[in-house]
Amino acid sequence: MPWPSLTPLILTLKLGLWTTLLLFICGVPLAYWLVHGRSFLRLPCRIMVNLPLVLPPIVLGFYLLLLFSPTGTIGCFLEDYFHIRFAFSFAGLVLGSMLFSLPFMLNPMMAGLESLPPSLLEAAYVLGRSRTATLLRVLLPAIRPSLLSALMMTFAHTIGEFGLVLMIGGKIEGITRVASIAVYDEVESFNYRAAHFYSAILLIVSFLLLYLMFLINRRSRTF
């Protein structure tokens, strides 16, 4: 019997890495604003960020599908003017995963920023340094353990997604059929060997990621 295809695993890895990278880049300024901004919009935004924690993933996937459907206004506009299609595409998976993993990236970052004494930021401002320089050179290095756990939680969470991915991406081989969907597919067709293969790898990777996180947290506590 041939080995199950590695394509879903490679796709999952790609999705996890892209989502984590892009969400990190967007998450840093967003977390900074949510902690240090002065706008009244901060509270509603904090709630929005945490919505994916309680919202069934499939609901988020459903709305995203409606939003980006090629027959809808926004989906049509994006496709006509920018040649971007989010429904049933890898880009759509990344976008959906970014929204869905938002609390896993932002909550550790915000907790880290909130744990720093305000005088660190104020000292940098008084010394004449800009907000960007303060964020990049003072605040972010000081919350390194929080950043690492944000990165790892986001990655681990993304590779385990199912409902949202299925809803917005379907299961197109090589494009949107990630490992969790492959498991479902193989079980449906009674191919338990392949289902075991994908499941075991997801289990091992998730376990190792959490183990690594505990090690890092323990080291940062003793530091």
């Binding site: 004494p117 005088s119 660190l120 104020e122 000292a123 940098a124 401002y125 008084v126 010394l127 004449g128 340094r129 800009s130 050179r137 003072v138 290095p141 000081a142 390194r144």
Partner: protein, 231 residues
Amino acid sequence: MLNLAIKKMMRGAEGDMVLECAFSLQKGEFVTLYGRSGAGKTTLLRLIAGLSDPEQGTIRTLEGEIWFDSDNKISLPPQARRAGLVFQDYALFPTMTIRQNLEFAAGNRSHSERVDELLDWIQLREWSKRYPHQLSGGQKQRVALARALAAQPRMLLLDEPLSALDREMRYHLQDKIAELHDRFPITTLLVSHDPAEIRRLSSRVLWLDKGRLIGDDTPDNILKTENRRPL
């Protein structure tokens, strides 16, 4: 150097209070801000540094630069004021070495010579590769002072910089601050409770009580009055 007239509502441990005062600081003057805790001393330093804004009033330099003006809705950010505030908790950057703390403050104007000179002045050159958590309280305080100077501030605001140190270290650092002021006559506003320290360092005392200025005189005169009317 600085002309200030402000009004700010404060919420303190003893209820609401209005911080309302006006004074000028001459160039090169060393002035102590004196008064019991909760009188508004730290708030006043923060208002000057630009870390918070009063509800009403103006803060301007004697050269005519406006730092704050409530009528015209002007408030210069702390970066543009460059009033070298030294925090009570030192606020050293924990992931930077001592040298990096100073270099970060020196910024684009960075001259390694200047940083070296400051490290020599605080006698911590051989410690320059250490991190803040490896230093004692007195050493941290010296670094905080040197870091404020590395940014070439236009004035120096010291918020009870020596209060956490033992007597010997206090004397040593008082010498350092006095020596600094002799060498570079930078306008300095010091928050202090310690009569000996006030007499030793400053030429003028502003006495703040419950948000109001109740005395502006030489250290001797203020401390004599204070003895008759204890805080």
